[in-house]
């Protein structure tokens, strides 16, 4: 039906999207066929993935641009509930996120997976990579709860297998377990949320209620709507990694192969954002203000805690994973603001908040993807993620270093790259909070803005550390010596993302023009009219007098001044700078070990925010020969742990084990006791059961 020839002649966005998903799924068939030719498998499968991603991105972009809203129904699924698919602008936008990231990551994988294939079979990696993409594609295309959940769990399971891909490490298994378990719990609450909505849609007498269309039409009692919202928020929050539901994220994302980490951090957790938007703005539609405030508060907490925990990390990918928590927080801040404004019937402002959130979604996908790919390149070259063992890579891996730097600047929300634009929009949304008709919110929301400021400043600190310790300075161990630059496909993948980061940073008005249809769909207003009222060069979200920004001019301006200065200094009597040894403070034997480390870099922040972490620091002198004050060696160990683990997860797990121990007592081994159970059961049934 969907492969009808006339559609090939004049395709529609949803045709492209389903074709993309089909390509991804079809690619999995290559795995058994080419199981013994890994090189061919990698080439063909990832080329197919690239093609599919491109189609998905095009289809999604088209759907947004055309404000299309097409639905189709596939004749599979459970009885009375076939698979409904729909491509509306919101789905289209997220399809672009998937497609864009899938595109660059697949290109990158062409080289990256080859490297892995030298060590171990990669059939599983290829298979689940494709399934993962297909799962995410179907999540956004799904237009009924059943398909949504199937796709959602398909995405989860395939990413789980990718997390445990290198399953020999126990850490990977632990991470995989935690991830899959929490994701499953999340899926269950999402299911419940849909159940509540479906119950109001059709009373659960038929499956029609599970179609999103029926939920849209349903008139849900406020109390139950809140229940559905909270359930959905919990479920999606688990996936998104909202603090305190984030603990799986920094475990699972780092241990996956880096191309997968990029997709997980860049795209998969955005599916949760999609879910939140879909459920609140679309399905439930009537939003009380405190939902927005709750999302905003959760976003703030996530952003702050995420970045603070990130600062404490010295595993490069783990650090990046915590930053995903932070950025999800920032996205949620935008969306929460949008929800709050929407609740108070301020459509333009709601549109601004929503756009800020969506813009950051796209941005984060791009730069976090870039960073994970960069980290993957580092790992590929050095075989370690441990920052304390790295250093000085910029000399040997100039391309990777430069591209990674772009990612660092972007994620630190520094102009002229993209991260700044979305955070700036978020600030603008914050600054409009005085329009809210609630004094309490008026006072509290600005403090949230300060929290965001703290977050982005800390993020900058963190990425100075991440880039500085990894790429700058001198090699801290043999891992970082004798490395070489990664291959061309990996560089192309990263370069594409870096370029996208720059373009989104300097052309925000164009993007917002394109994006504007989404808030129009949900809150009935957009900001494009004002945002690009002064042309593509200027971003003026509300009004030019209110605030304006031009990334292009910042970029070109700084570039021009730098160029002028350079010419001024080098034009006349240019002398190449002399190379000399760094100043050694009079101490003659400088070694790389004297450099600042990741741990020492974040020490002041650890001190300032110490109360938020569970710090176990121990330093003890060893080999004291002459005098206690002059030990030969000092052993130092530092463990910074997530407090939430002890606050929430450990008690839950302890309780589960406690109950488990109780249940095992039932099976005590003595048959007489078992007979007593039967006996008592009969008695109880006889007395109460008749």
């Amino acid at each position: 039906m969907i492969f009808a020839p006339e559609l090939l002649a004049s395709p529609t966005p949803i045709f492209l999207a389903t074709l993309a998903v089909s390509l991804w799924l079809a690619g999995t068939l290559l795995v058994p066929v080419l199981a013994r030719r890994p090189v061919w498998l990698i080439r063909s499968a990832f080329s197919l993935a690239t093609l599919g991603s491109a189609l998905a991105a095009v289809g999604g972009a088209w759907a947004v641009a055309a404000a299309g809203n097409e639905a189709i129904v596939l004749p599979i699924g459970i009885p009375e509930l076939p698979f409904h698919l729909r491509l509306d602008p919101l789905a289209g936008f997220f399809l672009v996120v998937i497609g864009a990231m899938g595109f660059f990551t697949s290109i990158y994988s062409l080289g990256y997976v080859r490297g892995i294939a030298e060590r171990r079979p990669v059939g599983g990696l290829v298979l689940f990579f494709l399934l993962f993409l297909a799962g995410m594609g179907l999540v956004v295309l799904a237009d009924d709860a059943f398909l949504f959940l199937v796709a959602w769990e398909g995405m989860t399971v395939s990413s789980y297998f990718l997390v445990v891909f290198e399953h020999e490490q126990t850490a990977n298994q632990k991470a995989g377990f935690l991830y899959l378990l929490m994701a499953h719990v999340g899926a269950i609450t999402i299911l419940l949320a849909f159940g509540v909505m479906a119950a109001f849609a059709t009373g659960l007498t038929s499956f029609e209620g599970y179609a999103f269309d029926a939920m849209r039409r349903a008139d849900i009692a406020p109390g139950w709507a809140t229940a559905a919202f909270l359930l959905a928020l919990f479920g999606f929050g688990l996936k998104a990694g909202i603090v305190p539901l984030h603990v799986w994220l920094p475990e699972a994302h780092p241990v996956a192969p880096s191309n997968v980490s990029a997709l997980m951090s860049g795209v998969m957790i955005k599916m949760a954002i999609y879910g939140i938007i879909r459920v609140t703005f679309d399905l439930l539609a009537a939003i009380p203000w405190w939902w927005g405030a709750l999302v905003l508060a959760l976003g703030l907490v996530s952003a702050l805690m995420g970045v603070l925990y990130a600062l404490m990390q010295h595993d490069l990918k783990r650090l990046l994973a915590y930053h995903s928590v932070e950025n999800i927080g920032i996205i949620l801040i935008g969306i929460g603001l949008g929800m709050t404004f929407h609740a108070f019937d301020l459509p333009e402002l709601a549109a601004l908040g929503l756009i800020a959130g969506l813009y950051h979604t796209l941005n984060h996908a791009l730069f976090k993807g870039l960073l994970f790919l960069g980290a993957g390149a580092v790992q590929h070259a050095t075989h370690t993620r441990e920052m304390e063992a790295l250093g000085g890579l910029i000399h040997r891996m100039p391309w990777t270093a430069a591209l990674f730097l772009v990612g660092c600047i972007s994620i630190s929300a520094l102009p002229p790259f993209n991260g700044f634009v979305s955070e700036w929009l978020t600030y603008q949304a914050f600054l409009l909070s005085p329009s809210l008709p609630s004094t309490l919110l008026n006072i509290l929301v600005p403090i949230g803005a300060a929290g965001l400021a703290l977050t982005s400043a800390l993020a900058a600190a963190c990425f100075v550390k991440a880039f500085g310790i990894t790429f700058l300075g001198q090699p801290r161990s043999r891992h970082a010596q004798n490395v070489s630059e990664v291959g061309i496909t990996m560089r192309i993948g990263m370069a594409g993302l870096a370029l996208a980061c720059l373009l989104l940073g300097i052309l925000p008005a164009t993007l917002i023009d394109w994006l504007d249809v989404i808030p129009r769909q949900f809150v009935g207003a957009g900001i494009a009219e004002s945002a690009s009222s002064h042309g593509w060069l200027w971003l003026t979200p509300i009004a030019p007098e209110r605030a304006s920004y031009s990334g292009t001019i910042v970029f070109l301006g700084i570039g021009a001044i730098i160029g002028l200065t350079w010419f001024a200094l080098h034009g006349r009597r240019h002398r190449a700078p002399r190379r000399g040894p760094a100043w050694d403070c009079g101490f003659e034997k400088m070694t790389p070990r004297m450099q600042y480390t990741a741990t020492s870099f974040s020490m002041p922040i650890r001190v300032f925010f110490g109360a938020l972490f569970k710090i176990r620091e121990r330093s003890s002198p060893m080999h004291v020969h002459r005098h206690a004050a002059f030990p030969e060696r000092v052993s130092y160990s530092l463990h910074v742990d997530d407090r939430f683990w002890g606050w929430i997860y450990k008690p839950v797990s302890d309780a589960a084990f406690w109950i488990a121990r109780l249940t095992t007592r039932i099976q005590g081994g003595r048959i007489q006791v078992y007979l007593i159970y039967s006996f008592l059961t009969i008695l109880v049934l006889l007395i109460f059961g008749r």
Binding site: R665, I671, R690
Partner: protein
């Protein structure tokens, strides 16, 4: 014989069956147990025969005969031979607190009566009042299985329970349809044979039929 008299005999025999149930509960020695069980079967068979006569149900005679052959002769004989062959210790076991067990037994009888009395209302048979006794016999058999630690004693408890079931069939409906009765009897016979196989297996693997040694399979909380 007048129906009233027959009913009284039936009641008396059923009381004896119940009494033997208590006897089984309290007896320690294995041969004595076997004998008590055989007696229970005998009274049951007699009871059945009298009901067959009183109610004029022909196939109940067959049932009575079946009981006689199986419960009084065959199964006790098989068990007897087994016990002798395997040189099973005579004094079966030390039971915990016989008086308490008996008290629980009495409570079970009360409960059985309580459970069955509304049902008896629907019955017009001469055996209607013995329904509660049948249930009580089942329950006592179960209780016996709980309190015993010896495999043979447990099997006897099981068979006593079957007696109760058979009794129930007689008292509620003058016996089940023939095909069912036969099938049940066959099953019980096979069960008895398998029990015999098990005695050997337990004997060889545990060197005793004391069930307290059979508590290896349990959840060890190692973590």
């Amino acid at each position: 014989m007048s129906p009233v008299f027959l009913a009284q005999v039936v009641d008396l025999l059923s009381a004896l069956v119940l009494l033997l149930g208590f006897g089984l509960l309290a007896q320690r020695r294995i041969y004595a147990l076997l004998h008590l069980f055989a007696w229970q079967g005998l009274f049951l068979a007699a009871n059945t025969a009298i009901v067959a006569y009183g109610a004029g149900v022909r196939h109940l005679y067959f049932s009575a005969l079946l009981t006689l052959v199986m419960k009084v002769a065959l199964i006790p004989y098989i068990l007897h031979v087994l016990i002798q062959r395997m040189k099973i210790e005579r004094d079966v076991e030390t039971m915990v607190n016989v008086p308490l067990t008996l008290l629980i037994g009495i409570a079970l009888v009360v409960l059985s009566y309580n459970v069955m009395s509304p049902i008896q209302e629907f019955s017009t048979l001469m055996t209607r009042s013995t329904l509660a006794i049948a249930l009580a016999t089942v329950m006592l058999g179960l209780l016996m299985m709980i309190t015993r630690r010896h495999a043979v004693a447990q099997v006897i408890g099981f068979l006593a329970m079957e007696n109760g079931l058979f009794f129930a069939a007689t008292s509620a409906t003058y016996g089940m349809p023939m095909v069912v009765e036969l099938g049940v009897a066959l099953d019980i016979l096979i069960a008895a044979l398998i029990f015999g196989v098990f005695f050997f297996q337990i004997r060889t693997t545990f060197e005793s039929l004391d069930l307290s040694k059979m508590a290896r399979l349990k959840e060890d909380v190692g973590e």
